[in-house]
Symmetry: C2
Subunit: 355 residues, 2 copies
């Protein structure tokens, strides 16, 4: 299958198949409904308020954002239940959070007392307390307290802080580590109930592990992001098939300097340099033997030596990116379509919201 | 030296020291003035019209853009001599180029007849012909004709095409390959004069090779980009010193989960995943023993195990990025300053212009 780009649609540009998006949303919702676990999709992948509303309409409890400036965009679009999974620090950022908390049901995370003290200072006189979850490191080696005991200690600090309420535990685990999540959280939960009086939410996440989410988990809420679009990294991890990938970057072959080389008009400023452990910077859907060996800022370098059939100058090719979430963030506009039909451009509402 | 961020300046954000920018501009201009070679800086690094105007005021002949949509921004800001070093293809893009060519002195490149035919179709009835340079591959293995003979053949095609004028030769060589540039261009020039009647401009580029640009070169014009800011990759290549780096990304330490780990609020959506062959995703200026071992989308992971002194939660740190050009493209706004003083936010005029 090959798409003809609609008039006014120019390469390079990400195309998003809404039919695949709807299927991916429905499938994830059904999976977590069957487990009795709330779904709180991360908007980092799409950064589109329309897709957040679709996720909520399908049954999601709310959404996850990584930065306050992202949450502002989604609150303005009517999302009223948002978890910001970030240590929000500094008086300007906590004041911004406070202003937003007057408009929606917000929760945040913290993994240290400096952040908790800053949040408390900003919310001490708030009409309703800010829910703060303790971020736990179950092996991902990013943020998070290092032990169930530390989690319980920080939970107690939050519970005793003016303007704050302890909301539970949150982790972003490494892929396929449900056992580590279960072990950490089962140990931490009773300790937190003892130190903070409750432990309402236990939130985990990650698309790579989504399909293997266990029955009878201690986790009450799951935060997958990439599942809505999927990408080459998820195909490589066995978490989806090619036909589940809703995003393809349309690019033009602008040069064929040698028989085995094609140059695309999409480089690192379109596809990004994310490799996620793979070889090559994306999959050419209609030329699967081709390898995107390198990216300049505005050029993609393609090795065609393994291809029997080769794309010609002027041909539009479709790249399944390694990592959709970062590609979304490169474009002011993307194109929605349904199987190549009904193409229309839409703004990426929360692109570049880094604060 | 440590900067205090001005009120209203929040992390993560690139800071650009204008005093260093001015010095970098002056140094490059003096170098090429001494060689009798025109300077045509590439705007991909800064994407700021104010800096393009500074480069031109310092003596640059014009600027280089990679995409027509970038050139539109710089023409609107008064830059009237622009080379677009890209194979511009397709009727919508060539029509856009045609509209822009009515407003400024434009030139483009081509390395194949499909592109030349498209340009000719768009400019056949233009009042003045579009200058087209032949892009040559002297070893960079990106775009470009593969031999001086091919260059001369395509030059002849351009010279005979309605609406076009052959403008000369252009290459983006691999680093430290002046010898390859000289050999290719010295062979191609007389062949082009024979096939196309002239060979006015011979344009080369690249900051890594700038300082070793030879005397008596056949090259008439040079297109460095990164030199205006410099970055960690150029320090690694010996092309600049730390004090020549005008861009630093200010980031906050938001977590210290273990004694040897710090987490920054700048991830791949701020610093990008560009490694350019190096280890680590940037240099922490005040903690040079620290290693930015990984980037999540909004988190930077820092290994402090080699650091005697370690940054604390809430501290603002300054990251010299691996590759400035791609960082510029991540931010709607950056901050200008002079040695930490006179901080003010400015829009990145041509961010995200991919068409």
């Amino acid at each position: 299958m090959s798409f003809r780009l609609a008039d006014g649609v120019e390469t390079p540009v990400p195309l998003i198949d809404e039919a695949i998006v709807e299927r991916n949303i429905a499938r994830a919702q059904a999976l977590f409904d069957a487990r009795g676990v709330a779904l709180r999709p991360h908007i980092k992948t799409h950064k589109l308020t329309r897709f957040a509303r679709m996720q909520i309409a399908a049954g999601a409890k709310g959404v996850t954002c990584q930065k306050t400036s992202e949450a502002e965009v989604f609150v303005a679009a009517g999302c009223d239940d948002i978890l910001i999974t970030f240590d929000i620090l500094g008086p300007a950022k906590t004041a911004r959070l406070r202003r937003l908390a007057d408009k929606a049901r917000l929760a945040v995370v913290a993994d240290n007392e400096v952040v908790v003290a800053g949040l408390s200072a900003a919310f001490a006189d708030a009409a309703r307390p800010l829910r703060v979850l303790v971020e736990c490191d179950v092996g991902g080696a990013r943020c998070g307290v290092q032990s169930p005991q530390e989690a319980a200690r920080l939970a107690g600090v939050i519970a005793r802080s003016a303007g704050l309420a302890f909301g539970g535990l949150m982790t972003y685990p490494p892929a396929k580590s449900h056992d580590k999540v279960e072990a950490f959280m089962r140990a931490a939960k009773p300790l937190c109930v003892a130190s903070a009086g409750s432990c309402e939410t236990i939130s985990s996440g990650g698309t790579p592990s989504m399909l293997t989410f266990p029955e009878g988990s201690v986790v009450t809420e799951y935060r997958p992001g990439t599942y809505i679009y999927n990408d080459r990294s998820l195909i490589a991890r066995g978490a989806c098939a090619l036909e589940d990938c809703a995003m393809m970057v349309a690019a033009s072959v602008v040069s064929r300097p040698t028989p085995d080389r094609a140059i695309l008009d999409a480089g690192s400023k379109a596809l990004t340099s994310d490799l996620l452990g793979m070889t090559g910077y994306g999959l050419l859907r209609d030329y699967p033997e081709a390898v995107i060996t390198g990216l300049s800022e505005e050029h993609g370098h393609v090795d065609l030596s393994a291809c029997a059939r080769k794309p010609e100058i002027g041909e539009v090719v479709f790249v399944v990116p390694n990592h959709t979430c970062v590609v979304t963030n490169m474009f002011d506009e993307i194109v929605l379509h349904r199987g190549g039909a009904e193409m229309r451009k839409v703004r990426v509402d929360a692109r570049g919201k880094v604060f």
